[in-house]
Amino acid sequence: MGNKGKKINPRNFEPGQLKIIILILPLVIFMGMPIIFIINHAFKPMVELFAFPPTFFVKDPTLENFSKLVKFSNSSGIPLSRYIFNSLIVTVVTVGLALLLTTLSAFALAKIKFKGRNLLTQINQIAIMFVSTAVLIPRYLVICNLHLINNVLAHILPLVAMPVALFLVKQFVEQIPDSLLEAAYMDGASDLDIYLKVIIPMIRPAVATAAILVFQQVWTNMETSNYFFSDDSMKTLTFYMNTLVNANNTVAGQGMAAAASLIMFLPNLILFVILQNKVMNTMANSGIK
């Protein structure tokens, strides 16, 4: 970002910027409001959930909703910890596997010359526009034929190949100067050495971005639980949270559901806040040419 223009990306605050802030502030507030509300709602005690007229902000925050959430799941046969365990395993394995396969392929597509590379690049580019919900049925048939129904792999494998993530990482790898790789090749490095010692250390921002994208997909995914699993104890937290929202359409259930929503949403937010600099760094190379 070697750009310190007078207008774009200004270094200091100027009165002119106030105009822009005032113009977009209402929209920013509108966009932020639902999330502020859900955070407040999750901490409301019963009295405030029932309050009439309904309140926006919490006055007397409590963890009541969270403890009820735990109790409720214990009464339903499968403890909450089981769902949390499933979700953690599925998320960690999927993100890890996706990052490994994505960076390996990004290296191949960007820096290794082999027959079929152009074709693969084009196919992946087209697949960015892939709408996964559209092929739920054939995917189900594939999973059936591989005998993966109720197998934890059915949570993981469908989400490992994420064309957008590969595209972004590949764009990033392309920025690494060839001269650097060549020097390493001259020193006798193998392709694997180059991948491990040159590529990986240099593409950390892109890896972080891919991690966020895959995480967002996996953590809130419900399709796999809904369609590929009949055994409830194998389903994920998202699925459980959703049954909770649907089964308890009462005011008391709302508090629990809000707490559940917060649990689903916060990891996303925290991860993004931590990694946002790296994400912006990666997005600079996101252009499709």
Partner: protein
Amino acid sequence: MDVQVNSAQAPAPAKKKKNRISRRENNWHGWLFIGPYALIFAIFILIPVALAAILSFTNFNAIEFPRAVGFLNYINLLTNDAEFMKYVLPNTVVYAVIVGIGGYILSFVLAWALCNLTKPVRTVFALILYSPSMTTGVAMTVLWKVIFSGDQSGLLNSWLMELGIITEPVMWLTDTRFLLPIVIVIGLWSSMGIGFLSMIAGILNTDASLYEAASIDGISNRFQEMIYITIPQMKPQMLFAAVMAIVGAFQNGTITSLLVGNPSPGYASQLLVNHIEDYGFLRYEMGYAAAVSVVLLLIVQLFSKGANVLLTDKDPYGKKGVSEDGEQGEEN
């Protein structure tokens, strides 16, 4: 030629390299590296798409073996499916235009506005605008249920009554007049995703010296600057964001089924994705559902092609997707 700031120097070294290590012309290790990804990609993306295409020409109820019916499903879709023509198609078009195109323009304008602010302010605003896109699917169902609740305890009803705009509570989630607008608002709310981030990065990377040159050359206002200086420099990012907007506009639909069920009351907010779910998993007419899926995938491709034509420079060598970086193009 598209200029992407960081890669502006890339083509030159690539050509030099070719002469020096031409023995690496066809390195089969490439397949080793991409193999595992390619395998999973093939099993869970390519094969399902191919299967959808094949099933779309059959009558398949998930129990008996599919029976070939030729183009019957497609013919039925166009001539016989009253719900599709009357509700699903118009809804999808309206939704795609407002959330896709509207959301795209909105995210550009917001990205541009944010880039005129200092970094701390920009970061906070970007975070607030981006965070709704992380809430896809289930996470926020309860939120909308509380806000749009049909009795007096609903947040929106309570506010509107206090302001005196309405006198009695509106049944937001059952009244067919409001369903589509509600789904559209939620769609717009969550449309500032990675396309939006890409645009911010694109604008930040535009060449500062060009702005100075332009002001000397007589560009007088910020709008002209945006049209003539900023956008031409960030077309690749604009295209990426456009593709993301198109995909987003056609794949959202979960929120409808979660909020009001599938099919939605009076099909008022039924989108293409919901129609597929309806036929595939509720009526078990999977051949027909597959035909709708194929249509959906084709529409997305078509629109992306359109965006590609609009946002790619008319340079004959620049139109080959990503293969512009010299070294790749030479292989053909």
